[in-house]
């Protein structure tokens, strides 16, 4: 085998392959990528993921190391079960109470409207969550508690 001839042809072919990869990737990404598509990829819930209507079934187990840039979300159910989660505020797109709860519903995969439909009683830092403060920015290290009904208390504490 004539090695020199082989390498010469091979290098030429490789160079054109590299160039065509460069231009085709550039063109393909310019035509197909957008910030919306990025958020679709990262934020859309899987088709096969189980959707729950029991808001105490799942919790987020992590305690993110973010100083005070977190929010605690606790759901307390009638059957004495609970789901206690801590979310990093840096990972939540909008930091109003309503948007945080929507993001939480997306992560856990339950219908956000269940909170209002089933008349959950929610507090933020022990203040009742109303239509008004749902749209207000929450301060770091806040706690949202949602009870399946108004007469419930935090099971792991003596009383509300």
């Amino acid at each position: 085998m004539n090695r020199k001839k082989f390498i010469l042809i091979y290098l030429l072919v490789s160079f054109f392959a590299g160039l065509s990869l460069f231009f085709s990737l550039k063109k393909y990404s310019q035509h197909n990528f957008s910030t919306e598509k990025f958020f679709t990829l990262t934020d859309t819930v899987a088709r096969v993921k189980d959707k729950t209507d029991n808001l105490c079934k799942y919790q987020i187990l992590s305690e993110p190391k973010v100083g005070d840039q977190y929010i605690k979300i606790n759901f307390w159910c009638q059957n004495q079960s609970k789901a206690r989660s801590t979310l990093s505020l840096a990972a939540v797109p909008h930091t109003t109470a309503g948007e945080i709860l929507k993001e939480y519903a997306r992560i856990i995969n339950f219908d956000f409207n269940l909170i209002t439909q089933n008349k959950w009683y929610c507090l933020i830092n022990d203040q009742e969550l109303t239509e008004t403060n749902l749209k207000q920015e929450v301060r770091p290290a806040s706690t949202i508690d949602c009870f399946e009904n108004k007469n419930l208390y935090r099971h792991d504490q003596k009383e509300l």
């Binding site: 085998m1 090695r3 390498i7 091979y10 290098l11 490789s14 160079f15 392959a17 590299g18 160039l19 990869l21 460069f22 231009f23 990737l25 550039k26 393909y28 990404s29 310019q30 035509h31 197909n32 990528f33 957008s34 598509k37 990025f38 679709t40 990829l41 990262t42 934020d43 859309t44 819930v45 899987a46 088709r47 096969v48 993921k49 799942y58 919790q59 987020i60 187990l61 992590s62 305690e63 993110p64 190391k65 979310l87 990093s88 840096a90 990972a91 993001e103 992560i107 856990i108 995969n109």
Partner: protein, 466 residues
């Protein structure tokens, strides 16, 4: 003809066994999310196919587009205490080939978004790749030693629990392993037949290895050292061969650079240099840690006697001045990866050590092959075989259950060793029976591998390994 068919049947049986062992509970163990790299690789491939933009998880500074995100694939946040993921684009931590395989498979199977890439889906291609590694390991032994050696190495590599579990993980090292084994096969054929075609194949595969991860450069280093071994000196033939090899492999590696700069050279070089400045955590403790701790991830350990003994046989081969070609190729491959490991080494993640494992199994089986074929060092061979057998027995039995066999163990082993020493002193040839005993110990240990693997369920994992 019948003999050939029978051998082929055994070869296929070991591959089938390897496949089913890797497949069993593959989506549950190792626990999905214990290494988020598995998802990251697949997301890079999926996003590249769907949008033309590689999007993945990175902890490296230097990215312009960085987002903290909760992506609850496989209900990751309900099974493990995981922080939100740092998502970056265009992701340039590593070349995208592995991502294109696992993410591409996910895309073909209907995945559209990141949460669709469950471990049930994305781990399938890596199981195939890891099974191919078993076949290649056996082919190397079959070509360079004999069929029995291929069966021993294949049986060990197919069944060793840590190797089986690691083979399910989407890590670039699992793709570099078959590349390195292929390059070893092609190089041994080149040195025997001196046909350029084998060097061309080795170069192509070496180039492809670097498209999985830059540590794939181990193949280049291996070829360089093996050429030095083959020519015994730095002469023009060596340089001609190596330049020819580089002339073919480097253009393939350069595809990563064409790929990277198509997303902006600033971002690409930022990440490349940032990668080079990564925390270098292994330091002088590296070798001890490497031999003593068999890791699956950073903090998950599963001690494997096969690998520890593999290291011992590797160190024994240092003192051996006259090595055969296959023995030298195994030795060179281990040295090459050791250099790459120490050079690239950052935090001691388990997967950095994965490529050592097939090479250690090769080193171990080469040791058995030489001593059993030539009827030498049988005392040492017996001690090594009984050590492996004992450690595997202890793992499945436990100390209290073992007590009923302790007397037998206490007397039988010293008696055998005594018998071997006497035979050695009176210079009488040892009977072939000892070969059968050693082989029985090896295959008995392989059986214990299977027994232990059968015990590994989710509960067992949480209680004993996690």
């Amino acid at each position: 003809m019948i003999k050939k068919s029978f051998k082929f049947l055994i070869f296929i049986s070991i591959i089938v066994l390897a496949f089913f062992l890797r497949k069993k509970n593959y989506a549950q163990i190792p626990i999905p999310g214990q290494s988020v790299d598995e998802y990251s690789y697949s997301w890079v491939g999926l996003s590249l196919i769907k949008t033309g933009m590689p999007i993945g998880v990175s902890g490296i500074p230097g990215y312009q587009n960085q987002f903290s995100k909760y992506i609850n694939v496989d209900r990751l946040y309900q099974t493990l205490s995981s922080d939100p993921l740092s998502i970056n684009y265009p992701w340039m931590d590593h070349p995208p080939l592995l991502g294109l395989i696992t993410g591409g498979y996910a895309a073909i199977s209907g995945a559209n978004v990141f949460e669709d890439t469950t471990s049930l889906l994305i781990r399938r291609p890596i199981i195939i790749i890891s099974t191919i590694s078993v076949a290649l390991l056996m082919i190397f032994c079959w070509l360079n030693f004999r069929f029995l050696t291929a069966v021993i190495s294949g049986s060990i590599y197919a069944t060793t629990p840590l190797i089986v579990l690691s083979s399910r993980m989407i890590q670039a090292e699992n793709a570099i392993i078959p590349c390195l084994l292929l390059v070893m096969i092609f190089s041994s054929l080149y040195f025997r037949q001196k046909k350029d075609i084998w060097l061309i194949f080795a170069a192509i595969i070496s180039g492809i290895a670097t498209l999985f991860k830059l540590t794939g450069v181990v193949c280049h280093l291996y070829i360089f050292f093996s050429l030095i071994f083959y020519y015994q000196k730095f002469n023009s033939k060596l340089f001609k061969d190596f330049l020819f090899f580089l002339g073919i492999s480097l253009p393939i590696t350069s595809l990563f650079f064409f790929y990277g700069i198509s997303y902006g050279s600033k971002n690409f070089f930022n990440i490349l240099f940032s990668n080079a400045n990564r925390f270098y955590g292994i330091g002088p403790n590296a070798i001890i840690d490497l031999i003593r701790n068999q890791r699956l991830t950073q903090h998950k350990f599963l001690p494997e006697i096969w690998l520890i003994i593999g290291w011992i046989t590797f160190f024994l081969s240092f003192s051996k001045t006259k090595k055969t070609l296959p023995q030298s190729l195994i030795f060179i491959s281990l040295i090459s990866y050791l250099i790459v490991y120490l050079f690239f080494g950052s935090q001691p993640y388990g997967w950095y050590t994965f490529p050592f494992w097939p090479l250690l199994i090769l080193s171990l089986t080469a040791f058995f092959d030489e001593n059993l074929t030539n009827q030498k060092n049988l005392l040492l061979t017996f001690i090594i075989a009984i050590t492996i057998f004992g450690a595997n027995l202890a793992r499945i039995m436990g100390i209290f259950e073992f007590q009923k066999y302790s007397t037998l163990w206490r007397f039988l082993i010293p008696a055998t060793i005594f018998f071997l020493i006497v035979k050695y002193l009176i210079k009488k040839p040892t009977s072939r029976i000892l070969n059968f005993i050693i082989l029985a110990l090896i295959f008995g240990s392989v059986y214990f591998n299977l027994y232990y693997l059968n015990q590994i369920t989710l509960d067992f994992w949480w209680q004993n390994i996690s």
